[in-house]
């Protein structure tokens, strides 16, 4: 029987046969991304660790059912997101799910003063203070938007793969991605504008 490889280069037959070395390669490649995805969704290190372990345990039991049309990454993220959502519902039964998002007003051009901070020096763009602002901005983002942003922009999934991982339509992914990017951009813009004004008060 010829071996079949997933689009991210893993031997499906080895994984299905319980090959530990191949499974360890998979764990090595995706554990960091899955841990941080769960951490962003749950804001709790212990919960993130539980999700990480559960994801790979479930995966190891389900390779037989994996359809090689999708990448293993998409499939693993889908397991992780579902596990995280289940945990969120357990903690807060009334919390929102990824498929119900409140429509808000951030599709509008914000009336604040626009400053083009994109070409500030690197040491300013990546200062410790900026890092804190980046974290705070994601903490303020609704989880439904943050999950899309994380999978698409940080973990590098395509729109289609993100839609597959979250069981959303591609249109819904694009809408949420735009909202997430706009909100994060607005947060960073306010910060850079404030620090610019602090440096050279009018």
């Amino acid at each position: 029987m010829s071996d079949s490889f997933t689009s991210d280069g893993f031997s499906l037959s080895k994984l299905q046969d319980g090959d530990k070395a191949e499974f360890a390669k998979l764990v090595e490649k995706y554990s960091t991304k899955i841990y941080h995805l769960a951490l962003k969704m749950l804001n709790d290190e212990q919960d993130a660790e539980d999700i990480l372990q559960e994801t790979f345990i479930k995966a190891s039991r389900s390779f037989a059912g994996f359809e090689s049309r999708s990448s293993l990454a998409t499939w693993l993220y889908r397991i992780a997101v579902n596990e995280a959502l289940m945990l969120m519902r357990k903690h807060k039964p009334d919390s929102v799910s990824t498929d119900t998002e409140i429509e808000t007003d951030d599709g509008q051009m914000e009336p604040i003063q626009l400053m083009d901070w994109c070409c500030l020096p690197e040491q300013e763009l990546l200062s410790d203070e900026t890092r804190k602002v980046l974290t705070r901005a994601t903490e303020k983002l609704p989880k439904t938007l943050l999950t899309v942003f994380t999978l698409r922009d940080l973990n590098g999934l395509s729109i289609k793969e993100t839609a597959g991982a979250l069981n959303l339509t591609e249109t819904a992914v694009k809408t949420r991605l735009l909202r997430a990017r706009l909100r994060l951009r607005t947060e960073l813009s306010s910060y850079f504008l404030e620090s610019e004004n602090r440096r050279s008060p009018k």
Partner: protein
């Protein structure tokens, strides 16, 4: 002409534009608008930079050693831990 209204029409296309997924017609229309609209150019530039900053930070993320150790133990993969 209501220029801000025009900007609001354009803002919905910015994500697709940045990803290079905008249809040729919409792309042309947005680029024509960007030539004359500094505000929208700023939004495009800073949105690109926002994504880039997050990506740079994300690529530096690591998994705590203890978390990794417990994961490999739970999966019976201790012999393969790097």
């Amino acid at each position: 002409m209501n220029e801000k209204g025009h900007c609001n029409d354009m803002i919905g296309t910015l994500s697709d534009y940045i990803d290079g997924e905008l249809s040729l017609e919409l792309c042309q229309s947005l680029e024509d608008h960007l030539k004359d609209c500094k505000d929208c150019r700023v939004v495009v530039n800073t949105m690109k930079k926002t994504i880039e900053l997050y990506k740079v930070e994300s690529d530096k993320e690591t998994i705590p050693a203890k978390v990794k150790e417990r994961l490999y133990a739970r999966l019976n993969l201790e012999d393969f831990k790097k």
